[in-house]
């Protein structure tokens, strides 16, 4: 979703004249490939005139956009892991206005011409960077502006992506093609419109990006430039942070990782001032229509929240889910105060992120303080910003670096900040470990699973808001929406329909023909058991049996026919009367010879061994007699070890009986391995 400025003649003009139309949104998108070593930024440059126009009129805004655009392009085109902070800084801490630089170089005839004529110092001067920094500027130019430029040039020349295919990394070309397909898909939705109109319309819908890419590829207004690398500058921004993580095995800049975790930790990735809020429905529609498989999930990640309007002002990377190398760029320049003015409860996070951004920009700034030795971390209050950062980093890294035993040690040995994890460390860790162990995509798109396809699939399934703020630790299940899921509500009438009485249930009690007004002594309502009785041996088996029978007889007398209606003649040990002693013994033997450890359930044998009895009879005997007797025995002899449940001693954890394959299930199942119960003293 790289934001590419639209270079179509008409629309360029249009853009310049009425820039407000483009607002902030949709203009830059971030195609974000994560690759090795850092993000490379490449830059597609509009031609001189348009740039100049733009420059003169809206330099700040444009610069910002340009940066964003560049960022996306760089990430997209270049291979993995290149990290380029934008805007870049010279050794003296001065920020480089890439756009200006670009234009200046262009005016001088491009990179080659400038290099040949040794004009870099002049370029630096004209770009407002001062003197004697020509080589640095050249370096920056190379690093930031050259790659994309050249590749776009080639692409433009060939008019198709073939050139791109052959010359640039396969990654980028693939994406370009996808984008192209996507654009075509989109365009075909509006067959009757002129392309400009389409673009504009799409722009309003904030879908501009795809089109622009296409247009960009077709136009030949791109210039190429060259650069080389300035490692120092590149790493500068993050050096301080690296200090924070001495045990990370890599020196790569990691600022972004802080926030990037599993999607559930997604801190709204935001581009250009915080207004990307593509409605989730639209995203899905895009998704279906265009099959831009790589990009849409990212949009989804970015935009599928209704609350997304309050985005956070740093440009980050949604794709964070797929590898360890995600980088989140903290770019305070894009922070739009307005955009988070409405957001509640994000204050501390903001503060911290700004802090990180500040550090990244100027690691030597004494005002940001220093971080004590690792061994002293614990003694510091969690209120310290740097500590928060560490905690967040920890939270974020938990899963993604789980493979690294070093880091595992770190996070295992540390507790999470309560404000991040709602005090409950145990469950959080637990969850992560489980997530790690079974990589099922239970969580919908907020899980950190490693394929964008999966994300896409989830997205298609449900566009429900899934952006989570930083302390959401659980993956969320999407709520499926649509006529296949929601109920059709009935019409409301304030009049109850005159129902036939048979639709109201059959009155059973009070019964017309029961001995209501009878002679027998009736117990008061809500009376409990009397502990004293006149039995010879109170509490003995005989005593209990007697009282049960007595009560039963009373009830039968009272209820009359209703007694049968409720099947009360078939409860309790009464059921035993229908069984012979041999049958009972056989039943017991089968159950005992098939303990929990065996694969097959005793029921299989039971059903086979009693062909004359229905399953219902057998089940009834089991609940009403067998278990009851066993329970009675336990009550008397092992009151501390009572199986509350019928299957308790016969069966262990859920087995593959009746399809209890919870482990293979795609979604969480209700069944859990049986817990031993001690719930009755």
């Amino acid at each position: 979703m790289a934001g590419w400025s639209q270079l179509d003649d008409g629309s360029t003009l249009d853009f310049v004249v009425t820039p407000s139309k483009f607002k902030a949104e949709g203009f830059f998108v971030d195609l974000r490939p994560v690759s090795e070593g850092g993000l490379v930024r490449v830059e597609a440059s509009p031609d001189n005139t348009s740039i100049e126009c733009v420059l003169s009129g809206f330099s700040d805004k444009l610069q910002c956009r340009f940066d964003h655009f560049l960022r996306g392009a760089l990430e997209e085109i270049c291979s993995k892991k290149y990290y380029r902070p934008i805007p870049p800084m010279l050794g003296n801490g001065q920020q480089v206005n890439l756009q200006k630089l670009f234009v200046v170089v262009k005016q001088k005839g491009g990179y080659d011409a400038v290099s040949e004529n040794r004009l870099w110092d002049l370029v630096a001067l004209e770009s407002g960077l001062g003197v004697n920094v020509g080589s640095s500027v050249k370096l920056i130019y190379c690093k930031y502006l050259n790659t994309l430029d050249s590749c776009l040039k080639r692409a433009a020349n060939s008019k198709v992506c073939d050139a791109v295919l052959s010359d640039i990394g396969a990654e980028f070309s693939r994406r370009l093609m996808e984008l192209q397909t996507g654009v075509e898909g989109l365009l075909s939705e509006f067959p009757d419109r002129e392309s400009d109109d389409k673009c504009r319309r799409l722009d309003f819908k904030r879908k501009l990006d795809y089109n622009d890419v296409e247009i960009l590829c077709d136009t030949k207004k791109l210039k190429s430039m060259i650069v080389d690398a300035d490692k120092d500058k590149k790493v500068l921004g993050v050096r301080q942070l690296d200090l924070d993580m001495p045990d990370c095995r890599t020196n790569e800049p990691r600022v972004g990782n802080l926030c990037n975790n599993t999607g559930s930790m997604k801190i709204l990735q935001e581009f250009d001032g915080g207004k990307i809020s593509i409605d989730s429905d639209e995203v899905v529609c895009l998704d279906n229509a265009t099959k831009v498989s790589v990009n849409v999930p990212k949009i989804g990640d970015l935009c599928n929240s209704n609350e997304m309007n309050n985005t956070f002002g740093f440009s980050g990377e949604g794709k964070g889910c797929s590898s360890n190398d995600d980088v989140l760029i903290l770019d305070p320049s894009s922070i739009n105060k307005e955009s988070f003015g409405h957001k509640r409860k994000t204050g501390p996070m903001w503060e911290m992120l700004n802090w990180v951004a500040g550090i990244a920009k100027n690691p030597c700034d004494p005002s940001s303080g220093s971080i004590p030795e690792r061994s002293k971390w614990k003694s510091h209050s969690n209120e310290d910003t740097w500590k928060k950062v560490l905690l967040i980093r920890e939270a974020v890294f938990l899963k993604r670096h789980a493979e690294s035993s070093d880091e595992q040690l770190i996070w295992q040995s540390q507790k999470m900040h309560p404000c991040l994890y709602d005090d409950q460390l145990g469950t959080a860790y637990n969850l992560r470990e489980r997530l790690k162990n079974d990589k099922r995509p239970i969580s919908g798109k907020s899980t950190c699973t490693d394929s964008s396809l999966e994300t896409q699939a989830d997205l298609e399934r449900s566009p429900s808001p899934c952006i989570e703020f930083y302390c959401d630790k659980f993956p969320r299940m999407p709520i499926p929406l649509g006529p296949g899921f929601q109920a059709q509500l009935p019409e409301w009438t304030s009049v109850a329909s005159e129902s036939d009485p048979i639709w109201l249930g059959t009155p059973i009690w009070p019964s017309k023909n029961a001995n209501n007004k009878l002679l027998i002594e009736r117990d008061p309502i809500g009376k409990g058991r009397q502990d004293s009785c006149g039995c010879h041996e109170p509490g003995s088996v005989e005593c209990v049996r007697f009282h049960i029978a007595e009560k039963r007889a009373k009830l039968k007398l009272e209820l009359g026919f209703t007694f049968l209606e409720w099947n009360l003649d078939r409860v309790g040990e009464e059921v035993r009367r229908l069984w012979t002693q041999e049958e009972e013994k056989k039943f017991k033997d089968i159950v005992q010879s098939n303990p929990a450890s065996t694969e097959r359930s005793f029921w299989d044998y039971i059903f086979r061994s009693f062909p004359t009895k229905t399953r219902e009879d057998l089940v009834s005997y089991y609940f009403n007699v067998f278990l009851l007797l066993r329970r009675g025995h336990q009550n008397r002899h092992t009151p501390d070890d009572i199986d509350s449940d019928d299957d308790g001693s016969e069966s262990g954890p859920m087995k593959n009986v009746f399809g209890h394959q919870a482990e293979n299930s795609r979604r969480p199942t209700l069944l859990t391995p049986k817990k031993p119960q001690r719930n009755c003293r």
Partner: protein, 430 residues
């Protein structure tokens, strides 16, 4: 002493013999035990007991898709191997096995809830109880979490014919996802669910941020809790939220799902509620004096389920039950103490005060959005965006809308909110 309320209680003796299969934690036999306990305390003398009608497939299809209901009707354990595709499609087989009399079982418990709703609509009772119902996970087109037919949705749909707004409260340990999902887009049903959330606990939904969408935005409330919540914190949270909800939403009727798996010691649950704490929620809801439909739900340590629901039946009848369980055929299941008390759980309470208060704040915050949302219809009359599409000629004369009702529709035409007009449209579109 005698309760002023008229209580209708639904029970069918056939549910007790339904068997989900070996090792399945859901045991309808608990209903039999519950009923027995109710009878042994003589509670039946204070209420009317009905046998529910067996809901017809067409009634079940008021919410569920026709093909799904039809499939449930047809499938048997002996033929299920022929339908593996359908079984997968309808999510049958894992949590939701196919067993003998499956469909009849569904008909009975769904019929009970539907009947209960109808009795409430006809003002034949003030409180209706169907412990067999409350199977809140079932979805429109599939079974889920031991639930096949979502009787709660069917009951609420029935109530919606008469009531403008229905409040659904769910204290099962699991999230009431089926009900929430069914009414996710409407403000005519507010769903409030208190449940364990996280650790991949079933069903995985129920984050506090799930709050409904479109017209239904803010009308789904989720109170996600962690392991081991105890009586004090639970009831405090429950009362705070529910009283606010009732105050703001002003429902015409309340549906309360009393899943007993939120009790301590449940085989699948992980809360530490005592029966008193659980029943306190019921007592609290009863105090609103609104028509009330009470259903069962989860509950997998069956003697505790029976205890709990017997106590809650007593609560609804304003009868306190003595702790000593009277003799009955199942008394041995309640040994060795033969009392209503259950031991308190030993699960550590992971709900810190700050966590609970943050959840509470978020919920109340969302509730405030309702208060201030101008589009919320809080007048007694619900918006009449369901314009009846009937052809007078085809209409069965018996069902013809009488003149008075039609007049009403016409009168209310001018009260449409602009946003209401496309309500139907939304529902179809999505």
């Amino acid at each position: 002493m005698r309760s002023k309320d008229r209580i209708s209680y639904f029970y069918d003796g056939d549910v007790g013999s339904v068997y989900f299969g070996p090792n399945h934690p859901m045991k309808p036999h608990r209903l039999c035990m519950t009923h027995h306990l109710v009878l042994s305390y003589k509670l039946h003398d204070k209420m009317e007991i009905y046998r529910p009608h067996k809901a017809y497939p067409v009634e079940l299809a008021q919410f569920h898709s026709v093909d799904y209901v039809d499939f449930l009707h047809r499938i048997t354990p002996d033929t299920q191997h022929l339908f593996s595709n359908e079984l997968a499609k309808y999510n049958l087989g894992e949590d939701c096995p196919v067993f003998d009399n499956l469909f009849e079982f569904c008909q009975i418990y769904a019929g009970g809830t539907i009947d209960a709703a109808r009795r409430l609509n006809n003002q034949l009772c003030d409180i209706a109880i169907n412990w067999a119902g409350g199977l809140h996970h079932a979805k429109k087109c599939e079974a889920s979490g031991f639930c096949y037919i979502n009787d709660l949705v069917l009951g609420i749909l029935e109530l919606l014919k008469y009531h403008a707004r229905v409040l659904y409260i769910d204290i099962d340990v699991h999230h009431g996802d089926g009900v929430e999902e069914a009414f996710y887009f409407t403000d005519r049903v507010m769903t409030v669910s208190f449940h364990k959330y996280g650790d991949l606990f079933f069903p995985g939904t129920g984050d506090v941020k799930e709050m409904g969408e479109k017209e239904g935005k803010f009308y789904a409330i989720n109170v996600p809790l962690k392991d081991g919540i105890d009586d004090t914190s639970f009831t405090r949270l429950f009362k705070t939220i529910i009283s606010k909800v009732v105050e703001i939403y002003a429902p015409g009727v309340i549906v309360l799902q009393c899943g007993a798996d939120s009790l301590a010691g449940d085989r699948l649950g992980c809360f530490n509620l005592s029966i008193d704490g659980h029943a306190e929620c019921v007592r609290f809801v009863k105090k609103f004096n609104l028509p009330l439909l009470v259903t069962g739900g989860g509950g997998y340590t069956k003697e505790n389920v029976a205890r709990c629901w017997a106590v809650e039946t007593g609560v609804l009848l304003d009868t306190e039950l003595p702790n000593e369980i009277p003799e009955n055929d199942y008394i041995k299941y309640f040994g060795p103490d033969y009392s209503l008390k259950i031991p308190s759980g030993h699960i550590e309470n992971l709900n810190s005060k700050s966590y609970l208060s943050s959840i509470k704040m978020q919920v109340l915050e969302n509730l405030r959005c309702i208060q201030h949302a101008p589009s919320v219809q809080m007048q007694e009359v619900p918006p009449d965006f369901y314009i009846p599409e009937f052809d007078e000629d085809e209409l069965n004369p018996d069902e013809r809308i009488n003149q008075r009702t039609q007049d009403k529709h016409i009168q209310r035409d001018d009260e449409y909110y602009e946003g209401d007009n496309d309500h139907d449209h939304h529902m179809d579109d999505v």
